[in-house]
Amino acid sequence: MAMEITQADQGGIPALSVSGRIDSTTAGSLQERLSELVRAGSRGLIVDLKQVAYVSSAGFRALLIAAQLGESSRCTLVLCGIAGEVRRMFEMGAFDQVFTILATREECAAHLAGTTAA
């Protein structure tokens, strides 16, 4: 199952919905897409991983690099929809303590609205 990315607007914030596998063959294009949005000047970025079945070390690395790039550009990366095996992978690598992870896109948008207002 290849990776697919679709973009939507969640309360004025770009929300990427990722599906499939984020591995060494697909992580590059996800990182590129995230970097483009950060460079475009967005104040926040939502990544919905509800449809993702597998994240490898290359996938985590891509998300980390995008989050670091966002931090230096004052763009906060927030993840949502993480459940089942993918949640186990995040917990196994202690990435649940590195990223801001919320349940839904709505919660992410509310969180980012609060962060940018402050």
Binding site: D23, S24, Y54, S56, S57, A58, R61, Q68, M92, G93
Partner: protein, 563 residues
């Protein structure tokens, strides 16, 4: 053994007296619901209400002694794992009660206790022939037959058809139990079945379902007296041996599971069951059943709800088990309580049993579906379940059985289990325990690895959670070997399974991967080599054991998953 943070009083700790007494009463109340099983069996056996009361007093005595035995570290497991009467022996005991009255129930119960004790040392090895999904089917059939006993109890299997008041009493008792179970909190929720029974009793008393004769029996019972101990007569029927042997095996497996929960509750670093303690625990459980049969009672088992309660409250000290045992001994000296239980109205029995049966059925289903089930295993479980249902739905099957086949065809539990057991043996033929997959790095498709392991997991009946871990490990490993191990030529992925272990080996020409103990820092992960280091760390965390070898140009990585 390191105490988990959620545990307030571990097995070796001594809680304050107030906590000990209150917890003891909570466990005794929780377990008392299961007194319904001996009441039903004694009634079917045609025992008079006065004798049922006397036998229930002895039942309390047995529960007290068995709970002490299990809590003792030398005689039993040493855990807070009280004894209870159980649905496991209900269906076979009813068959025995109908065929030969109380002596046959007691003789066959003693036989079951003996079988449980004999299989105790071999339980670990039996897993290959009685896989988890088959144990789940046995639990499912026990729940199914218990539910049918509830329906038959209500519909007049034990006398005249129910009148309007009895229907209402059953509905009220069931409604009270269900309402408290779903919307109740704390202690009320935990003892919802006991409260539901009390509500049913009150309604039965107000509407005349409990007769003047019943009230006279209660009034005539004294508040304090020693149980009337005597040596009961036993009899044995070869035709029922299979039913009781299967129930004994189910009781042994349930005891094993309950004791394992005790170990996990008490040890934050728990990895695998303590075989020696489990063995002593199952033997103590079997001794309790033999003692029960010797004194005039029915089969007992470890109380899973009680162990669940200990885990939920964080009070798992064995002192609580001694307190619970002492309360049972106290109840054995109180014939008045036994007399109240002995006249239990059938709507109360039916409602309580129906409620319990629902949970046993679902518990069985959960155990069955915890394994990946391919077509073979689906057929094993499906055929077994339908065979059991057929015995109950088509009485002609049992009625038409010859003397030689009655032992199997006369019981839904036995017929369903035997059909599933034989099919499981037959379907094991041709299933290889070691399989390999050749991977071409130039045309690597991740779905290939996932499909391969999922299909094999289904054929082996492996646990879904362990197979998921193996899929992640194998996918990440192949990806890392191709990306960072510079694998040249083909890779060979090997998977092997033997019910206790799932092992994955990957062989390739290239550099062996390293598996760091600590996660690389965020800065390190972002460097060029970050993904490789992170892959190694994730792979180490994912498997129970991991090893890498480099032999010349050949690399091999081995994962082990406890199963």
């Amino acid at each position: 053994m390191r105490k988990p943070p959620s545990l307030v009083y571990g097995v070796d700790e001594r809680p304050p007296r107030s906590v000990t007494v209150l917890s003891g009463f909570q466990h005794a109340a929780l377990i008392s619901v299961n007194l319904i099983y001996p009441v039903i069996i004694f009634r079917v056996a045609g025992v008079s209400p006065a004798s049922v009361a006397a036998l229930l007093s002895i039942g309390f005595l047995v529960l007290g002694i068995a709970t002490f035995l299990q809590a003792n570290s030398r005689a039993g497991s040493g855990y807070m794992c009280p004894a209870t009467f159980t649905a496991t022996y209900l269906a076979p005991s009813i068959l025995a009660a109908k065929a030969g009255g109380l002596p046959l129930v007691l003789g066959m119960t003693a036989f079951a206790g003996l079988v449980e004790g004999l299989v105790a040392p071999a339980l670990h090895r039996l897993r290959a022939f009685v896989p988890v999904e088959l144990s789940g089917l046995v639990i499912l059939l026990i729940g199914f037959t218990a539910g049918l006993v509830a329906v038959r109890t209500m519909l007049g299997d034990m006398g005249h058809p129910p009148d309007a008041d009895e229907w209402l009493a059953a509905c009220i008792a069931l409604a009270a139990t269900v309402l408290l179970n779903i919307w109740g909190r704390g202690l009320a929720r935990m003892v919802c079945a006991l409260i539901g029974m009390a509500v049913g009793y009150v309604f039965a008393a107000l509407t005349g379902v409990l007769t003047a004769e019943d009230f006279a029996a209660i009034a005539g019972a004294s508040w304090l007296a020693f149980p009337a101990l005597h040596i009961p007569s036993w009899s044995f029927d070869f035709g029922l041996a299979a039913a009781f042997a299967i129930a004994a095996l189910a009781a042994a497996m349930k005891a094993l599971g309950t004791l394992t929960v005790c170990q996990r509750t008490n040890d934050a670093d728990w990895v695998r069951p303590d075989q020696a303690r489990n063995f002593r625990g199952v033997v103590a459980d079997s001794a309790g059943t033999i003692l029960s049969a010797g004194l005039g009672g029915v089969g007992i088992n470890t109380s899973t709800p009680s162990v669940g309660l200990a885990s939920a409250t964080g009070v798992a000290s064995r002192t609580i088990a001694y307190a619970t045992g002492a309360i049972f001994l106290g109840l054995a000296l109180t014939p008045k309580i036994a007399a109240v239980l002995a006249v239990m109205p059938r709507p109360v029995m039916a409602a309580t049993l129906l409620f319990s049966a629902c949970f046993i059925v679902i518990n069985g289903l959960q155990v069955v579906t915890s394994r990946l089930l391919d077509s073979r295993r689906t057929l094993v479980i499906g055929m077994g379940l339908l065979a059991g249902a057929a015995v109950e739905a088509v009485p002609a099957i049992a009625a038409g059985a010859t003397e030689g086949t009655r032992a199997v065809l006369g019981s839904s539990l036995v017929f369903g289990t035997v059909v599933a057991f034989l099919l499981n043996l037959a379907f094991r033929l041709g299933v290889r325990q070691r399989v390999t997959l050749a991977i071409d790095p130039a045309a690597y498709d991740p779905a290939q690895v996932e499909g391969f392991l999922r299909k094999q997991g289904g054929m082996w009946g492996a646990r879904a959670d362990v197979v998921n871990r193996a899929i992640f490990g194998a996918s990440q490993l192949v990806e890392a070997a191709i990306e960072h191990g510079q694998a040249e030529g083909g890779l060979e992925l090997e998977a092997s399974f033997d019910e206790f272990n799932l092992e994955i080996r990957l062989r390739y020409r290239g550099a062996a991967l390293a598996f760091p103990l600590a996660r690389p820092t965020i800065a390190q992960i972002q460097e060029d080599d970050g993904a490789r280091q992170l892959a190694g760390f994730l792979l180490r965390r994912n498997a129970d054991r991991i090893r890498a070898e480099q032999n010349g140009a050949q690399a091999m990585v081995w994962f082990h998953f406890d199963h």
